[in-house]
Point group: C2
């Protein structure tokens, strides 16, 4: 029997590029990361990826032949068929980037890519909180709010790649202005910056006793973590903020579940470090706003894989380059999800 | 070459049961209907269906052998694997009904069923406004509000069959009480009864000149059609009502599209008889609340098939009983949508 090939997963972010070498069952065997160099219109990024992969293959005494291929998650708008990326502003990419062409040429491996939130959804669904179920929705609460939807066993892109854009679901018509130009998007309340925005607004209207209020009035730097930590300690104003965040998240999650009825809605990203405290707040509104059948069958969960969700999900994009006979049942299921329906 | 088989589509409703004989391309060749007899806990319904099909086959000098099978849309909760129906209250069905077993035994044909709104979605997507595209969402505005979602080419049921329950998306937290027990469901505002509810509420608070106001004060029976007709004629109060309906529908449609990014959201059902006037109202809010990529790629459309959507979509459930070689490309696409992913 020929030796089973490995996968490479790449999670391209605005600050770091994470890499991993994984088995065909999505188990991480090696991982490393390099800083993202966005200078010169991000023109160093793809060469850096190629160089870092080749360098680590040398280190581990491996060659392109040991791998089925590379999968990558990236910010921006992805052209799945052509393997190109546009409009990835946090990478400073102003023109269309031929990611697939350049990475395949530089590494001599096959390459597939998808949107970063979609890839994290694939990872959490395959190896994390999603239990590899056919219907799993994922929300990531970071600087922004992203999402990915696996429905009937397949990642949903929609007609123009905007499938899973739960960050831009309107939860408050006429509410906060979003970077997307709309008002009242979930992202404006439930992202790390949204939580801080709410804290500043609520502090302005509040005159009672609160450590959060004092910090804001002092001009101290407020973070989403500070707000949640103070809320857990019983700070009144901080709880007003986190209750509001929970309400908006619960409404968005319930309405997504009312339409898709997934087994799980998995919540990840930096803000989800608030853990069970956050989940309980979201679930309170979810229980109010979800249809009875959905309440009975859809469960909210915290993400399990942390930063590894991206590289694991990205690696599942490369399962398409493996013979089905070499894949376990679980990996076959992951491969179907990661592959665009014909 | 063997003669191509036909399909039978059945659309089971609380008032009438609609039947059609269709080609494998979903073209209706014969149709008829019988009243739904909900007496005696609805125990006559399935025997009536069997009898009506057998009677019409005699009329047309056809036999079970001429058909690939029967597909049916039904109210209630459907067990797809077992072909049973529970909780169809408008049929007076209080216990689980073995629809598949009884209809197959009575007609000697293969049988498949799904939820009525899902089946109408399949019909509009195959032969109506959906152009047989992979990503089409459908909303039906009737006595209630139902929906069906085709995503990546497949009808979405979710984990417990509540996929597409857009009628129970919350559009107004704490709003009107819904029959489902929640508050502020889309159905409470945008169904035929919801429109009338809004008209009564708005009339109570309005003291200006309005024909709708006069009718309400007179105790005249108000219907959704009357409200929309008066709105089109420029009645101020009626426009307040229809604007509100458009806002809630536009919000629900935009948020569904923000998550699924379909090619089309198709709006059907009795209330949609208000036509382009309604569609323009919905689109106004949709343009405000949809994410830019979604605005650029998702289009709202009126349903095209009217009452035939149900029997056409139902018949597509029977395509699974046909050899692929006998199906046109369009029928193959319809068959994939109607078949539950393994």
């Amino acid at each position: 029997m020929a030796k089973k090939k490995k996968l490479i997963g790449v999670d391209l972010g605005g600050t770091t590029i994470k890499f991993a070498i994984l088995t065909l069952d999505g188990d991480v065997q090696q991982k490393w990361s390099v800083p993202t160099n966005i200078l010169d219109e991000g023109s160093h990024i793809i060469p850096d990826i190629v160089q870092s992969i080749n360098h680590h293959l040398d280190l581990y005494k491996m060659s392109a032949n040991d791998f089925a291929g590379i999968g990558m998650g990236t910010p921006g708008t992805v052209d799945l068929a052509n393997g190109t990326v546009t409009a990835a502003y946090n990478l400073n990419w102003k023109t269309t980037q031929k990611a697939k062409e350049q990475i395949e040429a530089g590494t001599h491996m096959k390459f597939a890519l998808d949107n970063d939130a979609n890839v994290a959804a694939l990872g959490e669904r395959w190896k994390g909180a999603g239990n590899n179920e056919p219907d799993v929705d994922f929300i990531t609460l970071g600087t922004g709010v992203g999402g990915g939807i696996i429905a009937s066993g397949r990642l949903q892109h929609g007609v123009n790649g905007a499938g899973g854009e739960v960050g831009h679901v309107t939860v408050q018509p006429g509410g906060y202005l979003c970077t997307c130009g709309k008002h009242g998007c979930l992202e404006t309340y439930a992202s790390a910056t949204g939580v801080v925005h709410l804290a500043h607004d609520f502090a302005e209207e509040y005159s009672g006793n609160s450590k959060l209020k004092k910090m804001v009035d002092n001009g101290d730097e407020i973070t989403s973590k500070i707000v949640f930590d103070l809320a857990k300690q019983g700070d009144f104003l901080a709880n007003e903020v986190t209750n509001k965040v929970g309400q908006y998240l619960g409404l968005a999650v319930a309405n997504m579940a009312n339409v898709l009825n997934p087994s799980y809605v998995v919540i990840g990203g930096g803000v989800s470090a608030a853990g069970q405290f956050l989940l309980d707040l979201v679930d309170k509104t979810f229980q109010q706003e979800a249809f009875s059948t959905v309440r009975a069958s859809t469960t909210l969960k915290l993400a399990k894989l942390g930063n590894d969700a991206g590289v694991i999900g990205a690696s599942s994009l490369a399962l398409r380059f493996v013979d089905d006979a070499d894949l376990s049942e679980a990996a076959k299921v992951a491969n179907v999800a990661a592959t665009v329906a014909e």
